[in-house]
Structures are given as C-alpha cells and as structure tokens.
C-alpha cells in the first residue's frame, strides 16, 4: 500500500501543466514558465494531457467559465492552482506535487469521464465545489454525466441552428471548444437527425467547388501558443477555415497591456517562444524562453549569457531554411501601419528575430483590429492560421477600436 502510494507520488512528481493566463499577467506567466522549465515540467497540449491546471491572475467571467469547462475535461488525478503572484511560486508548486501524489485512490473515478460534458452552459448556474481546487472528491465524475445529459444544445460550436437565437451563443461556442478542439457533429451520413444532441455536419462547396462537410468550430480561448482569451470562430472544411471571425472573451476587460515600460527584446523573445511552439519547434522555443528569462536578471554575467543566448536563438530561427520553407507566403497583412506590420509570416518572424537579438529595430506593429487579422485567415489551413495569429502581437485594445460583431 505504502509502496503503491510512493510509486504514485514518484510518477506524478513531474506533472504536465496547462497554463491559463488572465489578462495583465504577462510577468507572472513568464516567471511561471521559467520555473516550470527549470523543474522540467512539460507544458500540456490539451486537457487530456493535463495534470495541473494553473490559473494566473483573475480571469473575467467568460474566461472563468471556459476554465471550468477545461477543468471538467481533465482526467483524474488532477489539481488546480490559482496563482495571483509569483512570490510563493516555489512553495505552491511543491504543494501541488504533494497534493497530486497524495490523492487517495478512491478519488479516481473509474471509467471514463465524458470529456465534452462541460459543454453545458455555465449559465446554467452549476457550481462545482471541486473547481475550487484543493480537493477533488469523487463527485466530479458524476457532475460530468449529469451535465452531459443536461444540455446538449450547449455543445454549440457546431450547433448553429440551435444556438443562433440564444443569448449566450458566444459563451456556448467558447465552452464547447474551451480548448479549441470542440467536438464536431460527425460526418455526413445521408440521413438527418442528430447524434447525442449534436446535429449532423452539413455539406457546402469548398474552395475548389467540391461538396465537403462543414464544421462550425470555435478555436480558443485557451490553447498552447495561443493568446489566451482570443476566440476564433469559423467554418472548417477538412482543415480549411472559412468565414473566420476573431474576438476576445471578456472584451470589456482591458487589463491587457500592463502599465510601465515593456522590454522590447523580452517581448520579442516571448512572441518567438509561442510562435516556435506553434511551428512545432520545441527546442528553439525552450531556448527563446530561457533567453527571455535570463534577460530579466540583474546579475551582470547572467545578463551577458542571456544576450548571447538570445542572439543565438534569433540567428538559428532566422537562418532556418526549413522554417522559411514551411511558413513562407502565409498571412500577408496589408497594414495601414506600413512596412513594420505588413508582409507575410516569414517577414514578421525575421523582424521578431531582429528585435530578439537586441538589434535596434522597431518591433512589428500590432494590427489595428482583429478583423484585419481575421481577413487573412480566410481560406487558410488551420495550421497556417495558427502561425499567422502567433506571428502578430495581438493587443486586447485592438478589440476596443473595432468592436467585434460576434459579441453582439
């Protein structure tokens, strides 16, 4: 018994972490990522992959609802940590490992959790005490099945017909794909009706004029390498996006840009880190994060090391033929802001590299509105769309200048 408990504790000593950063927690997120890298805790790709859900700062109501859905999709054993400040980070993470390892076996609900269950409306007012974090008693498994039965139309994302007239269509879409990977409504099967409350997918002409299944999807607001809170709604045919729209959840929340001066080199490295993650280059992403964290140091020699490291990673990314070959030509922005914001993904990557290596160049300007970005997502593959979004510095204030019609 004792042996199995110790084995469990050992197995969970390097948990996979999903970070959800509320607006205005840039520095906190960087500190957390640095600590996770130091400990060798991998970043999770999806709720299925997650052991620890790390919520930074105070999420607004819509993001909080999305976090609840995420939480419902995470398999046991799991643990949620709400962090407000980096001060007791080390202590909190130690505590997390202890709590994960100590969870008694009966707390594992046997059998499967309906992962999409959380798609029920948070508006339904269900309050899970388990979401508070510390104790995960067995009730969650039950919650899920309950919720799954409760509200299938909440599966949204796909559920265009049902959702259209509903007040919180925004919410529903988000829920369903809180991790951006919403269920889709199955394949065209030559019969009507629906499956588990989900309507079947429709067909429509694709970009080559052939009839192809259309899935209504919502990507975001929480994804690895994705600006937390950003929500992409689109029709998906195969992996091609059409009628893409972008919006922020909690759009009225404008804590996006932290007051005080921004370190341009660190910001560029941060941008590169998430872009490289999306581009599937984890070793370069790690180097970028490492350089970014070193640049915050006050120690002279550490700072010099970090500068060298930043130059090295920037040079490596800039010169990578494979990256150039794979991202070239995607996401041409014709910005009114001129050359610094325009160009394709590759131009912007190289510009970020110039800034990251400490060069005296201007960082690519943020697009003036989300619509401008959404326009170039039209007709791109999902992977390309992710690269385009990762290549621009999206500012939450962009939503204010151009109110998103999806919020209406």
């Amino acid at each position: 018994m004792d042996l199995s408990r110790r084995l469990r504790a050992w197995a969970l000593a390097r948990p996979r972490v999903l970070i959800v950063d509320a607006p205005g927690t840039v520095e906190l997120r960087r500190a957390v990522e640095a600590e996770l890298d130091r400990r060798g805790w991998p970043l999770a790709m999806s709720p299925a992959d997650t052991d620890v859900l790390l919520v930074l700062g105070l999420p607004g109501p819509e993001l909080a609802a999305a976090i609840d859905v995420l939480w419902s999709q995470i398999a046991q054993p799991r643990h949620r940590v709400d962090l407000r400040a980096a001060t007791d980070l080390h202590h909190r993470l130690e505590e997390t490992v202890r709590a994960l390892g100590a969870a008694a076996p009966e707390e594992h609900v046997d059998g499967a959790v309906p992962a999409r269950a959380g798609a029920g409306h948070p508006a339904g007012g269900m309050d899970h005490s388990g979401h508070e974090g510390m104790d995960h008693s067995g009730h969650e498994g039950m919650d899920h099945s309950g919720m799954a039965g409760m509200d299938h139309s909440g599966m949204a994302g796909m559920d265009h017909s049902g959702m259209a007239g509903m007040d919180h269509s925004g919410m529903a879409g988000m829920d369903h794909a809180a991790m951006g990977g919403g269920g889709h409504a199955g394949h065209h099967m030559h019969h009507g009706g629906d499956v588990a409350g989900l309507p079947m997918a429709e067909t429509a002409p694709d970009r080559d004029g052939l009839a192809l299944d259309v899935l209504r999807v919502a990507i975001g607001p929480v994804l690895p390498g994705w600006p937390t809170g950003l929500l992409l709604r689109a029709d998906l045919q195969g992996d091609v996006l059409t009628s893409a729209r972008l919006s922020w959840v909690d759009a009225t929340d404008d804590r996006g840009s932290p007051p005080g001066k921004v370190h341009p080199q660190r910001a560029a490295l941060d941008q590169l880190a998430s872009l490289l993650l999306v581009a599937g280059w984890p070793t370069a992403a790690r180097d970028a994060r490492c350089a970014r964290d070193g640049l915050a140091s006050t120690d002279r020699s550490e700072l010099a090391t970090a500068r060298r490291r930043a130059e090295r990673v920037a040079r490596r990314v800039r010169r990578s033929r494979a990256l150039a070959w794979t991202v070239r030509g995607a996401g041409h922005l014709h910005s009114s802001l001129g050359r610094t914001a325009g160009g394709d993904v590759l131009d912007r990557v190289r510009r970020w590299c110039d800034v990251a290596s400490g060069g005296d160049v201007e960082a690519p300007a943020s697009p003036t509105s989300l619509d401008e970005v959404a326009a170039v997502l039209e007709g791109t593959e999902l992977g390309t769309a992710r690269l385009i979004v990762a290549s621009v510095a999206l500012d939450r204030s962009a939503a204010r200048t151009a109110p998103e019609e999806a919020r209406a």
């Binding site: 790709m45 299925a48 999709q73 398999a75 054993p77 951006g180 990977g181 269920g183 992977g383």
Partner: protein, 315 residues
C-alpha cells in the same frame, strides 16, 4: 544462400515472442529517453522520464468525448503498438528474426501501411476537431512518404536479390548497403520519423492543433499510442541497421553488441537531427516527396540494379 533459422524455430515460439516484446519495450524506451533528453536538455536524469510518464499514464483516468465512435477509436489506439511490435517480428535480433517469410520487407511495409488506418481511426474516433485534423494530416503525410519509402526498400531488395531480412544481412558481408544506397538509407530514416509522426513530421500531433490525434487521449490510451510511436521509431532504426549498416557485423565485439551499438547510434542521430527542425507542413512535404524524392529514389533503385548486373554485389 545459407538458410538462417528463425528465432521461433531455434528458441521456441514463446521465448522468442517474449524476446521481441522485450526488445520492443527497450527500443521504445530508448527512443523516448533520447527524445526527452534532447527536448528538455536535462541530461542523464531525463532517461527515467519515459518510465515515470508511463506509470503516471497507467494511474490516470481514461476519458471519452461526447458521441465518440468507441469501437473504432479503441481499435485504432490498440492497433498502433500492436503493429509496431509486429513490424519488429522481421527485424533480426541477435542475428535471428522472430519469424521469416520470403517477403520480410513487404511484411515490414505492410505493418506500417496498416498504421494509416490505425492513426486515422485514432483521429476520427473521438468526434473532435483537433483529433480529426490530425488524422487528415497523417493521411496527407502518408501520401508523401509511402512511395519514396517503398522505392528505398526495393533498392535494398534488389541489391540483396531477396526480400528476406536474413539474406539481406548475409549479402552485406562484404560491404554495407549504406555505401551504395545512401539515398535509400536517408529516405528510409526520414520515412520512419514520418510514420511515427514524430519530430519534423509531427504535424498530426502538432502543438498548433493541441496535440492532434493524441489531443483527446488520456491514461492508458495515450500510453498505448505514445509507446507505439516510440516502438515504431525504434524498430525502424533497428531495421535500418539490418538493411543498410550490416546488422551485427563488426570487428572484435560479438554481433548482438554491434547491432545494439549501431541501433543506439542511429536512434541518437535520428532524434538529434529531427529535433533540430521545426515541423514541416504536410502539404509542402507532399510536393517535395513527389517532385524530388520519388525520382531520386527511383534513380537510386536504378543505380543498384545496374551495379547488380555489373557484379558489384556478391549475390
């Protein structure tokens, strides 16, 4: 040509099957450990991480999604490691393969071709967008690597005058095939990364689609798929040693030790090189595969055929 006894005939079916299982786990661990070391830069302690992850996944709850296709989903999940181990059945371990047909190379390729179906089902089963997209990407990638892979295998078969692994090993007694078939060797290893959807060919499990085909997997399901990928990569490295690097041949040391050393070297080189690259987009890879790799591997096969006719190979 000397007939080599199969492991099943020499040592009995059960012990040989256990040996292959052990080799599969060992190779899977090797790949995962090296990958982890390269990824985290953590050095030697990271070699235990795959074991830790496996225990963690074994204790983790399995999850499902709303309206999945449970049968096909679980079938695909189970098929990934099973196919990986089956492909290892024709890879010589200690100079013997578990069983031997007259078409070992075709068997190896067939296991990998069945993987198309398995990975597609893993992506299709959970009824989720990201997993489905991962499945599509794997099929696109399959279109890219399958033909070059087959042509590189054909070059080996032509050079040895046989599709039997044991014959291919004995045909390399004089000169390793990598010398006359460098292109086939490189294409074979790149295809290995592609059908294990790993490294630069990891688009089906890309971070941009939240892990793609693996995005809805937890617990033992995830363990099976991840283990299957690692075993496939390891098995292919071991196969590359047999097909191109002379298997267990080498001075001073006994054959199995040479084979092990070469396999470790191939795995380390493959992982190290693979992690230096970003993910290559399947649509662009398809283009290069068909316009560059197919002709190049065809020329490789032609060169081997001409060399064979000129008596270059001691067949």
């Amino acid at each position: 040509m000397p007939e080599t006894e199969t492991a099943a005939a020499a040592w009995g079916v059960v012990p040989s099957a256990l040996l292959v299982m052990g080799a599969a786990l060992g190779l899977g661990w090797l790949v995962a450990a090296v990958d982890r070391v390269v990824l985290t830069g953590a050095g030697a302690p990271a070699v235990l991480e795959p074991v830790r992850s496996s225990v963690r996944l074994l204790t983790e709850q399995r999850r499902t999604t709303l309206a999945p296709d449970p049968l096909l989903w679980r079938l695909g999940i189970a098929a990934v490691p099973v196919l990986a181990v089956l492909s290892l059945a024709v890879v010589p371990i200690g100079g013997r393969t578990l069983w031997s047909t007259s078409v070992d190379l075709v068997w190896f390729n067939a296991m990998e071709a069945l993987l198309w179906a398995a990975v597609w089902l893993v992506g299709w089963g959970p009824n989720a967008v990201h997993a489905l997209t991962g499945g599509y990407r794997f099929l696109a990638q399959g279109l890219a690597y399958e033909l070059p892979l087959m042509f590189s295998l054909i070059a080996v078969g032509v050079g040895a005058g046989s599709l039997r692994t044991a014959d291919i090993l004995s045909a390399q007694a004089g000169l390793w095939f990598v010398v006359s078939m460098p292109v086939a060797f490189v294409v074979f290893l790149a295809s290995a990364a592609a059908f294990a959807f790993w490294g630069p060919f990891g688009a089906p499990t890309g971070a941009d689609i939240a892990g793609g085909v693996t995005s809805e997997l937890s617990g033992v399901d995830r363990l099976l798929v991840e283990a299957g990928r690692a075993i496939f990569l390891g098995a292919t490295a071991a196969m590359a040693v047999a097909l191109f690097l002379g298997g267990g041949s080498g001075p001073w040391l006994p054959g199995p030790v040479w084979q092990l050393l070469k396999t470790v070297a191939v795995v380390v080189a493959l992982v190290w090189a693979g992690r230096r690259l970003p993910v290559l987009r399947p649509d662009r890879v398809v283009e290069v595969a068909w316009t560059v790799l197919v002709p190049v591997t065809l020329v490789q096969a032609l060169v081997v055929a001409v060399l064979l006719l000129s008596g270059f190979y001691a067949v």
